[in-house]
Symmetry: C2
Subunit: 180 residues, 2 copies
């Protein structure tokens, strides 16, 4: 088993892949630091934006997919906009980092474990995840759970919670929502 299967995917994978479809470049050639419109394709993909699909080791379901809408093509903004989609049964790693997350649910529903609290996220529910609060996003439901995640462009790497944090999490009321 590899880390992806064991722990779910981190919320901070390295971008990759090539764009599919066609964006509307406004000035000059996209990609780059130029105005551009990415039309929504109706299936939670965007024309001109690559989607990275990951599969669990057994290959029977896509645990999670990432789409970097803004931040991977030379934009000068200080933030990145990503769309993540977690398949039924999937989850992200339980982790923490210095950088903040802003999470906006736009498809289905899921759970957010944040610093010992377990909450359900539904359409357009918006969460601010403060620095160093351990967190995990899960999809225990039957439909895909999709959300925007906004982060600083320059950010630290995620780390697992330390022993004390993990003990506190596992002894708390939200422990039932944690995925190993």
């Amino acid at each position: 088993m590899n880390d992806e299967t064991d722990k779910g995917m981190s919320c901070d994978w390295i971008p990759g892949g090539e764009p599919e479809g066609t964006a509307t470049a406004i000035s000059g050639d996209a990609p780059g630091n130029r105005s551009v419109i990415y039309p929504f394709a109706g299936d939670f993909t965007w024309a001109g934006v690559p989607q990275e699909r990951y599969k669990a080791e057994d290959g029977t379901w896509a645990a999670i997919a990432r789409t970097v809408l803004i931040g991977a093509r030379g934009e000068s903004a200080l933030f990145d906009l990503r769309y993540f989609e977690i398949a039924p049964g999937g989850h992200s790693s339980l982790e923490k980092h210095e950088h903040e997350h802003v999470v906006i649910c736009i498809r289905g529903r899921g759970t957010l474990l944040i610093d010992g609290t377990l909450a359900e996220l539904n359409f357009l529910d918006t969460a601010y995840l403060a620095p160093n609060d351990p967190h995990q996003l899960c999809n225990p439901f039957d439909e895909p759970f999709g959300f925007f995640c906004i982060v600083n462009h320059h950010r630290d790497r995620p780390r697992p919670p330390d022993e004390k944090e993990l003990r506190a999490l596992l002894s708390g009321a939200a422990a039932r929502g944690i995925r190993p």
Copy 2:
């Protein structure tokens, strides 16, 4: 007539107002730099987040409203997340600035004039507005046009296009979409 009626509202008003409803503070008391969930109230407001409504001088319609979801309550992220809603017939100022915009349509539809191109924005269409590209958002339709707008937290003040830019815009194919 005042500037609001003449030119529409800038996309960078100064935050104000008081929260309504109840957010789910995860650690300590919100507001502040703490993890928090703002549940969507179903009517394009969020529990615990104030909404600023502006009315045109004649008072017959709300031209535009702003909700600062992230960035006005002590968060340390380098970006702000705002929700704007433009009533039918309303529009923002035609302006430019050094800082970037990321715009995501989440309610109804509207038009985006960006650097001489006029495009319709529909659900989840996402736009990147590069530095100093003159732009304007309009709602020529019959329903409210609502969109997220993400910006750097520290940013310059909007300015009108200069004469050369304005001439170029008015002589272009997109001129029909410009509101005075």
